[in-house]
Amino acid sequence: MQIYLPIAEQSLSILFLVGLGGIVGVLSGMFGVGGGFLMTPMLIFSGIPPAIAVATEANQIAASSVSGSIAQWRRNNVDVKMGLVLLIGGVVGSIVGVELVKMLREIGQVDLAISLCYVFFLGIVGTLMLIESLRALLRTQSGKQPPSRKPGQHNWIHKLPFKVRFKRSKLYISVIPPIILGMLVGLLAAIMGVGGGFIMVPAMIYLLRIPTTVAVGTSLFQIVFVTSLVTILHSVQNQTVDAVLALLLMLGGVIGAQIGVRLGQKLRGEQLRAMLAILVMAMCVKLFLDLVIEPDELFSVAQDIGGH
C-alpha cells in the first residue's frame, strides 16, 4: 500500500518504509549504534531528497534516543552535568549546521555537501570497523587475549583552563573539549541527520577518558536534545521534516530495535561487526560512485528557495 508523504511530496510503499525502519532498527539494536548513518543514505537511495532525509532522520533519532537514554538512565549511566556541557556546544553546532544547510540549499549544493560528508564519514567508520572486527576475528582464532589498555595518562587536554569536576564520570577536566565535541556533533546532526554517537562515544572514551558505560549513556542523553533541537530548527528554517515519513520510520525502528537486541545476544559479535562494516563500506562506495560517474541527466530543476 502506498502512502503520500506530504513534505517529500511523493508516494512510497508503507511496507517498504516500515521495513526500512525495521531493518535499520534491527542493526542498531544489534550493535548499539544510532542507525542515522545507515538510515539517511538508505532514504536518499529511495529517492527522498537529501535535505528532507536528513531533517526527518533527526526526528526519528530523537525517538530512538529517548527510549535508549531511559534505559541508560535506569542503569545510572548518564552524567547529566557532562551532558549539559556537551549540549552547550551541541546547540551552537546545530544552529550553525541548519543555517549552513539553508545556505547550501539556496545555492543548489546541499545534495553534494551531504553526499560528501557521508562518503567521508562512512569511509572512516567503515574502515575502522572492518579493521577492528578482522583483528577480533583473528584474535578469537589464535586464542589470544585482547591487549589491556594503558591506564589514564595526562595528555594535553588536562592543561586547558576552565576545569570542572564531573562526579559521575570521575573526572576533573576543562569544559573546552566537551563543548567543542558537542559542537562538532551538533553540526553533524544538522548536516547528516545522525546522532553522532559513532564519533562522540569514542571521543569521550579515548580523548576525555570517560568510563565506557557512562560515555554511551551520556552520549544518548545529549543526542535526545540535539536531535530535538535540529528537528525544530530544520522545521523552521527549511521545512524539510516529513512527519508522516518520520512516524513510519519510528514505527519500524521501535519494532526492529527489539528484535535486534535479541538477535545480537544470540549471534557472534565479531562476524556481525564485520558484516556491518561491509554494509557501511558498500554504502560509502555507492555514494562515491554516484558522485564520480557521469549522470545520465546532467540537468536538475530545483525550486528557488532564496530571497524569502
Binding site: 500500500m1 502506498q2 502512502i3 503520500y4 506530504p6 513534505i7 511530496e9 511523493q10 508516494s11 526526528n59 526519528q60 530523537a62 525517538a63 530512538s64 534516543s65 529517548v66 527510549s67 535508549g68 531511559i70 534505559a71 545555492i107 543548489g108 549544493q109 553534494l112 560528501l116 535526545v224 530535538s228 528537528t231 525544530i232 530548527l233 530544520h234 522545521s235 523552521v236 521545512q239 521534516v241 512527519a243 508522516v244 518520520a246 512516524l247 519510528m250 514505527l251 521501535v254 530495535a257 527489539q258 558522485l291 564520480v292 560517474i293 557521469e294 549522470p295 541527466e297 546532467l298 540537468f299 536538475s300 530543476v301 530545483a302 525550486q303 528557488d304
Partner: protein
Amino acid sequence: MQRLIPTLTFFAFLVAALFGVRATLAQGVVADLTTHDVAVTADFTGANVVLFGSIVADANEDTSGIDVVVEVIGPTQPVWVRQKFNASGIWINDEGLQVTRAPGYYAVVSTRPLEEIAPRETLLRLGIGFEGLKAEISRTMLTARDEGTQEYLDALVRVLADKGLYVENPDGAEFVGGHLFRAEIQLATNVPLGSYDALVYIFKDQEMTGQHQTQLNIEKAGFERFIYTMAYEQPFLYGVLCVIVAGLAGLGAAYVLQRK
C-alpha cells in the same frame, strides 16, 4: 440630421462588418471539467481529470478541419535549472539559470499533433505546447545566461517531462460525436498543489477560432493537508509537535521494553 444619416449608416456597416468577421472567425465553445477539485489524500496515486466541451455551431456543420487543444497549467513558481559539470572528478552543479515563472505542471492534449493543427508561429505566440511553453517562460525571465540559455530551457522541460510534470499528448482529445469533444488529462502523484487553469482552444483550418477557460484546484485534504499547511504556516509549532511525537514514541518503546 441629414448629415447624421450617412454617419449612422457608416457605423452600421462597421458594426456589421466587425460582427461578420467575428462570426466567421470565432467558434463558440463551451467546456467544463468533470471535477474542479482534486483532493490529495494519504492514498493519492495520481488522478485523471476529464474535460467535456462542445463547439457551438449549427447542428449540420461538420467538425472536419476543427481541432481541439486543451492546456492545463499549474501554479507558476521561480526555479533554478542547474547543469552538473566535472570538477576534478566529482560532478557538481553549476551556478545555473534562474527561471522567474515556470509552471509546476503543464499538460497539453490535442486531437492531432500540434504541428499539424497550427503553424509554429501561432503556437509560439499563444504559448501552446512545449515549444510555446519555453517561449512563454523566456518572455518572463528576468535574467539570462551569457550563453546556452536555450539549452537550460530545453533541459527544464525535459527534466520535468521525465518526472511526469510536463505532458504533451496528441491523442488526449477527441470528438465523441457531433460537436461534443472530450479531453483527458493525467495528473501524476507529484503534481504541485494550488490553482490550475484549464484552457480550451478551437482551431479551424490552422486558425485559432475559439477559446474557453476554466479552473481546477488541487489541494491536499485530510491529514495530509493538516501536516503540509502546518509545516509551512506554523513551522515552529510543527517542529515542536514532531519532537513531542518522537518523545512519546520513545517513551512508549521504553515502556514496552521494560515490561518484557
